[in-house]
């Protein structure tokens, strides 16, 4: 199962709701404003750290770069590009875009 989140964790409860359903073995992909959750210095850091301990966490690099986060992303978040995004969706039987 792949969960895709695109809302800022500071302005929406989308990521929090998604994380309640994130099971071991699932993948989480942060895109657009959701990449702010991957900032190692932000207050969401502990929440995401916990998610990363049970699931694989990815962030879309073009969105990370656009928001000036390139040097701030947590270590256990894997950065992927657009083709990595496509591969991830293709490899996973079910994807859920949390809008």
């Amino acid at each position: 199962m792949l969960h895709i989140v695109n809302k800022s964790p500071y302005q929406s409860t989308t990521l929090a709701s998604c994380l309640r359903l994130l099971q071991p073995g699932h993948s989480l992909l942060l895109i657009e404003d959701a990449v702010y959750a991957a900032d190692g210095a932000g207050s969401q850091q502990a929440v995401l750290q916990q998610a990363a301990s049970r699931a694989k966490v990815y962030a879309l690099k073009p969105d990370v770069d656009a928001r000036g986060l390139s040097q701030r992303v947590m270590e256990n978040v894997t950065l992927i590009d657009y083709s990595g995004f496509v591969n991830l969706v293709a490899e996973t039987s079910t994807s859920h875009s949390w809008l």
Partner: protein, 118 residues
């Protein structure tokens, strides 16, 4: 001359609000009004250094905040609490700002003729 305050509360690229706000700020400044910008909540991300938008196919409009000075828009305020929550400090911002607490923001807002929220 009226006092205009623009309250920016959205991150820069996920929605169009930040860019639209900047456009209205520049128009207002052109009409020689007294303009203040307040960045709070995710709005503080609008003025974070190091934005590179090449790979998302959108214009990086963050350098425009540095040009505001040229339009005599020099009153830039930032919410201390929003910065802290996001692990940011003044050093992470690309323009000189005044960092305010909630009480100071409330007072400043009350002094305005017009407050516009983006």
């Amino acid at each position: 001359m009226k006092k205009f305050m623009f309250v920016n509360r959205k991150a820069p690229y996920g929605t169009v609000y930040a860019l639209e706000s900047l456009e209205v700020v520049l128009i207002t400044a052109t009409f020689d009004q007294d303009v203040s910008l307040l960045f709070m909540d995710d709005g503080v991300f609008e003025i974070v250094k190091g934005q590179q938008t090449k790979d998302i196919g959108m214009k990086n409009f963050s350098p425009s905040y540095r040009a505001l000075e040229g339009y005599d828009v020099e009153k830039l305020y930032v919410d201390a609490e929003s910065l802290a929550q996001r692990g940011l400090t003044e050093k992470d911002l690309l323009v000189p700002v005044e960092v305010l607490n909630s009480q100071q923001m409330a007072e400043l807002m009350q002094q305005q003729d017009v407050v516009l929220s983006f």
